[in-house]
């Protein structure tokens, strides 16, 4: 409107105003474009990702520019989004974002959109980042009753835990050390020897179990889901657990690494 008035009146003061506004549009366009450039995004799962269950992923946005900070960046992954108000030049900002993926196995990260209305909220610029990385999605856990000692035939018992502990069977007799509690001293034996003797106990452990995929009911996906649930539950109870998948057999063991190993096998079952 001002430009129209300037041309038709020939008023140079209006021309000054129009020139300044045109200049402003040009500079804001350049700033808006630069705001989305030289950004690097990195994604890290903050926890185990299961199919169809939301889980937090950590989205790390790095501003690789030397001088110019990045402002008002909205990162969108799938249906979730987060606002990064300001990232100084050369700095990184990390935020959590809930993500839900439907399929098990290695899944491509959905396209990441970075949108920004900076500097002027008249237009929203966006940039799509195609992420080549993949996320390992475990099968969705489906609850199942886990028969333990009652179903010896289905869940073979292999070995008891023989780890040192406080609540299991007697493991051996040993000399007293300063770190031993007084209640561990075996007074009768100590009386027969010159020094104090203590009882060493095993840890009260559940029996080691090998889970067989064929032991669960339902379709393949349901069996995988139930098997996943069983492994998670047993690991949580510090039980050594193994896995029988067709001809492949993974020996029982306890701990977080074993859980990931088994869940990975289940996630990739039939998808290699």
């Amino acid at each position: 409107m001002l430009g129209f008035a300037a041309v038709n009146t020939g008023n140079n003061l209006l021309y000054l105003m129009v020139s300044a506004l045109l200049g402003f549009m040009a500079v804001s366009g350049i700033l808006g474009q630069r705001n989305l450039q030289r950004l690097t995004i990195e994604i890290f799962p903050e926890e185990d990702l299961f199919a169809n269950l939301p889980a937090n992923i950590s989205v790390q946005l790095h501003n690789r520019r030397r001088w110019l900070p990045a402002f008002l960046l909205q990162v969108e992954i799938g249906a979730s989004h987060r606002l990064y108000p300001a990232i100084p030049a050369g700095n990184t900002m990390k935020m959590s974002l809930p993500l839900t993926l439907a399929e098990r196995g290695y899944q491509k990260v959905p396209d990441i959109w970075i949108r920004s209305c900076f500097p002027i909220n008249f237009f929203i610029r966006s940039r799509r980042l195609v992420n080549q990385g993949q996320l390992l999605i475990f099968p969705q856990p489906l609850s199942v009753t886990i028969p333990l000692n009652q179903t010896e035939s289905r869940h073979a018992r292999h070995q008891e835990l023989v780890q040192p502990g406080n609540d299991g069977e007697l493991r051996n007799i040993d000399s007293y050390q300063s770190s031993d509690p007084l209640k561990a001293i075996h007074w009768k034996l100590s009386a027969r020897h010159d020094d104090y003797k203590v009882k060493r106990l095993n840890r009260l452990g559940a029996p080691a179990v090998t889970v067989n995929l064929t032991d669960f009911s339902g379709s393949l996906e349901q069996r995988l889901s139930r098997c996943t649930f069983a492994i998670i539950q047993m690991t949580r109870q510090q039980q050594a657990v193994g896995l029988q998948l067709d001809e492949q057999r993974i020996a029982p063991a306890a701990g977080r690494n074993q859980q990931i190993k088994l869940l990975t096998e289940l996630a990739l079952y039939g998808r290699r």
């Binding site: 001002l2 020939g10 140079n12 021309y15 300044a20 402002f71 500097p119």
Partner: protein, 651 residues
Amino acid sequence: MVGVKPVLHIMAYVTACVGVMPVLSYLDLWISLMLASGLALGLVAERHNRPILSDRLSTLLSVGFFMLFISQASFVNLVTPLINLLCLLLAVRLAGDKSGRHLLQIFLLSTIILASSSMLTLNMAYLVYLILIILMVTSGLVLLSFYSTGPEICFTKQQWVRLIKTISLLPIGSLILMMLLFFILPRTQTPLWNFLNPRPAASAGMTDQVRPGSVAELATSGKTAFRAEMQRLSVDSLYWRGIVLDQLQGNIWTRSSYVAKEKLVPAPGSEVQISVYSEPKTDNYLISLDRPLKIEGINHRLTADGVASGRIRNKRKIRYQLQVQYKANSQQQGEASHYLKRPSTVSGRLKQVAEEIRQQKDFHTKREALDRFFLQQKLSYSAEKLPETTTPVETFLFESLRGYCEYFASSYALLFRLAGVPTRLVGGYMGGEYNQLGHYYLVREDAAHVWIEALDDQGIWQRIDPSRLAVNANEAFSNSSTAKRVNFQAFADAIGHLWSQMVLNYDLHQQFNLLRNLAKKTRDLKHPEGWKIKEFRWIFIPIFLGGIYYLLKRRKNRIERLLQRYRNLIATAAGEESLSESTGLYTIADICNHPLCRQFADIYGTAIYHDRQLDDKEFQALIRIVRQLKRQQATLVVKLPTQDNPSNEIT
């Protein structure tokens, strides 16, 4: 932590004040009061954190004001009601709620009010307001983006500093581009809506008659008549020719329709190029330094007696170029009896004086005799308390002995004509204040002057200024137009002239001139031998300052750059684009297992762990290490740890 919202609100109020400031003196009192009330209510609302005017009431008031505008506006009276309406809408918005949309309206209304002020005044203060409003509006719009995205966003002091630095790019960039775009945006030769522009007031002009004795006091005006861009000349050469009065009827000198036949006698050494910027005036005469050879830049008619008249539309400011030879004279071609005509009744005393002069043998002795008579009479230059009489020349020469230039010139010319010397009066200006900054003469209305031209024995018209024969001539002329102005005034006038020349008068014609000059400069690029380093000296100032800044910055960041160079070297050896930020210097030394890498980590680590800067010796050592590593790059093979192969391989 300071939120965006309060800062944005303050900026909106300041922007409104800046936008309204240039039109404030043109507003009706009640509208000014409404604006002040709107601002006050807005500030009260800020304090109580709730709007005084509801949205519904604001809309009703806005509609009401718009109806008022419709009732007042007409084709001939459009600008003032429009500005009134804009100010009232702004007042409503200031008092009302301030959502993102409303804040945007405040910024927009303020900008439009400032733009519309250009239809009331062309004052240079507009530029100051424009810069301020660009600064406020651009920054405000950026903050508005933050406000719209997250109304509760807050920043720390450091974040604010960072944000302000980035935001400042917008107004700075906009203003730089403004200077470029202003000169290239398309313009029309004849604007269609010219009626909307402020009308220049033409209050002065050159009369086409000289009538001494008609007024008791000469009204003097310090208003600018024109400015002439040119080199500095001696005061004696500064006679600005306007009109030639060749006909004497009674006591009145007028310009007749007689077509003079004259030929210019050139004086090549005195040629000057002048650009004249004339203020709006009531007559059509084009002022030029005596005598003009050529006039360009305006439609005009230049007669043989050196009088130029132009086609000036709308009594506006005009600009034209002159080619002048200030020592040139013109030679009369043919009969000169027209310049000897005298009034039917002349007093005996005048006849007696004229007869004595007539007795002299040639022009020069006649002139000397007349000069002598004037000096003997002890005439003084004065423009105050002069007698109103029907015989002004006689009264001036023999009774009052006081008068201004018209008295001197008419008396001298009449006596010369009575003595048989063809004579005419020339009206124009004399002198001027030379502005060193702008390289121009400023000539004011009070420098208006009348002198005569008399034909010598060779038929050459000679300029004679009888006012110089006044006993107080030196005092009179040094106190008026040639007086030195205070430096500040000269500076302000130079800026005002620049504003007028560069901005107000810039038009399609100048755009074409600019294009032609650019084309010429481009052609000249092929012949660089014609360049003078002096012409480009201003370029070296920003280059010099930029160089100093770069060197200071470079020194500060040299360690960072060396570190980055080292890391890039290792990354290249590892076949990676870059190393992870978490990979420290000691880790790199472990991975590479290279003595130079270990040495690098030790030197840098020693400085860092002692919390001190690297000294020059250490810095040079690091540079040497990086150089050696670069030379050995072919043998430096690094394999970074991966998930598959957690062990590090070094070859």
